[in-house]
């Protein structure tokens, strides 16, 4: 296991990301509040550069208690990274695609110690 320093915690704004390389490996490191998450920069769909995409809140259908739809809403509590190749979305916290259990990002262990962020490969 290799320990790689990504940077200082303070270099990451909340709800931001940084894509880093370690040799041939590309890793996306994301900050959400006090938590950090890291994923391989490879989309499970067609191998696209998923972590270089844009961040979007999860979209929900706005249903009332009679099951009538009133359009869609952003759920600001959930943040997705969107692969720029084909638009597949993955929850930054869980790495899961919001619409199927078949697709998920490949996780990388991330640690915060003494104000620095590390990934373990």
């Amino acid at each position: 296991m290799q320990t790689i320093r990504v940077g200082a915690v303070e270099e990451f704004e909340d709800r931001s990301k940084r894509v880093v390389t370690v040799g041939d490996a590309e890793i996306g490191v994301f900050r959400l509040g006090d938590d950090f998450h890291a994923w391989r920069n490879v989309c499970p769909h067609q191998g696209g550069p998923v972590c270089q995409g844009r961040l979007y809140p999860l979209v929900r259908e706005n249903l009332d208690d009679q099951m009538k739809s009133h359009g869609r809403l952003y759920d600001e509590d959930k943040l997705n990274i969107v692969c720029p190749w084909h638009g597949l979305e993955f929850d930054v916290r869980t790495g899961k695609h919001p619409g199927t259990s078949e697709l998920a990002l490949d996780p990388v262990t991330v640690q915060v110690e003494a104000g620095d962020v590390y990934v373990l490969l």
Binding site: I4, Q46, G47, G48, G53, R54, Y56, P84, W85
Partner: protein, 409 residues
């Protein structure tokens, strides 16, 4: 913490957006191609696009009618807040980029410093590099709606202008870039002239009908056209598209639903008429290519037509075999967007269409549902020879391309 600590490097492209260089956008595809050794494979991308409306002021200079050309010139110069001159279509209903999630679909604003060739040549070269493609067949984008144009003359003017511009300004810039010229299909006599004009052009490897249109493909007025295309030895392609104003598709409230159906529906209708009216029996050497409808519609239609044909043969007396036989033996298909969620269904589809000889790779780059060559290369049920056939050798055969690539002797 482990004593041995390495420092990560920042990736040079932190965020991919509309300004990202195509080579950076497709860097993962390029790396994959190098890992898999595609340099030793012939790869022909039978369906890629450029956005011709970006160069529309240039294109309209090629309109032959002097009055329409002048009108177009003035419009392009002075009209504000309007789409490009003469183009019909869906104006602001182009939601392909899913609200900015897929930037390359929105625009390619990357830097182009080369001045020796047209910008579209540079962008196409970059895409060819990223996808490891030897030949790329270039199609237009907004012009795919021209079959629905209320002025049939305008379809003629714009097809003439675009085809001249493309063959004179773009294709000579790179030997691997070729095209299937777009026919003004609503005016069969003009389409016939177009075939005669380009039949011997080596960069024109076939003829394209944009499929969103309501004129039946079996109409008698097309028979001269089909004869001429058959004699040219080049295929006729039906390039699918969508049309949200189609009354049944207008019930779809999402681009997802409308686009999923629209891109198959037009070719389902044309294929049905093509086969049941016995066009393959009338023109047995005419090769047809069905572009950008994916593949899942083909087994559906084969089974549906076979089932009904047996009960109603008297309505299709020209047929000497089952509809599915014509669809397998006289028709070729491009794979994109290849439906992959059920691998057994896909394998069955490959068997039903005889993919080994009838299927051609296509990327549809730079559109949102593009496929890299790996969608074929990575299929678990194909032999290496089948993969090579689909990725390039079938196309080389049907289009008469050099199987060693455009730059080989």
């Amino acid at each position: 913490m482990d004593a041995a600590i390495t420092k990560a490097e920042d990736h040079p492209v932190q965020n991919i957006d509309t300004h990202t260089d195509t080579r950076d956008y497709l860097a993962h595809s390029r790396r994959d191609a190098e890992r898999k050794g595609y340099a030793d494979w012939l790869i022909v991308d039978v369906d890629a696009h450029h956005v011709e409306s970006v160069s529309w002021a240039e294109v309209t200079e090629y309109i032959e009618d002097p009055v329409v050309r002048h009108q177009a010139t003035m419009y392009q110069k002075e009209r504000v807040g309007a789409p490009p001159y003469g183009l019909n279509g869906d104006l602001g209903l182009r939601y392909q980029d899913v609200g900015g999630r897929i930037p390359h679909q929105s625009s390619q604003r990357e830097k182009v410093e080369e001045t020796d060739v047209h910008r579209d040549v540079v962008l196409t070269r970059r895409a060819m590099h990223g996808l490891a493609v030897d030949y790329m067949v270039l199609f237009p984008t907004p012009m795919l709606f021209l079959g629905m144009h209320p002025q049939t003359d305008m379809e003629v003017f714009l097809c003439q202008a675009y085809n001249r511009w493309l063959t004179e300004r773009i294709l000579p810039g790179e030997p691997g870039i070729v095209t299937l010229v777009v026919l003004p299909f609503n005016t069969p006599d003009e389409a016939l002239k177009m075939v005669e004009k380009y039949a011997d052009n080596p960069n024109v490897i076939g003829f394209c009908v944009t499929s969103t249109r309501y004129k039946p493909v079996h109409a008698n007025e097309y028979m001269k056209l089909y004869r001429a295309i058959e004699e040219s030895g080049k295929p006729i392609a039906f390039h699918a598209g969508y049309h949200w104003q189609d009354p049944s598709l207008a019930t779809c409230n999402t681009f997802l639903g409308m686009h999923s159906l629209g891109f198959t529906w037009c070719n389902i209708v044309h294929m049905t008429n093509w086969v049941l009216n016995g066009i393959p029996e009338r023109f047995p050497k005419l090769k047809t290519l069905w572009v950008e409808s994916g593949l899942a519609w083909v087994p559906f239609l084969m089974q549906r037509l076979d089932d009904q044909y047996l009960m109603r043969q008297s309505e299709a007396p020209l047929l000497k075999k089952m509809p599915s036989d014509y669809m397998r033996e006289n028709c070729w298909y491009t794979c994109q967007p290849m439906e992959k969620s059920n691998m057994r269904a896909l394998e069955c589809t490959f068997e039903m269409i005889n993919a080994d000889s009838q299927l051609l790779y296509s990327s549809d780059w730079p559109h949102f549902d593009f496929d890299t060559p790996s969608v074929i290369h990575d299929l678990p049920f194909l032999t290496e020879q089948s993969k090579r056939n689909i990725l390039g050798l079938n196309a080389a055969k049907i289009f008469g391309l050099n199987p060693k690539g455009p730059k080989a002797g």
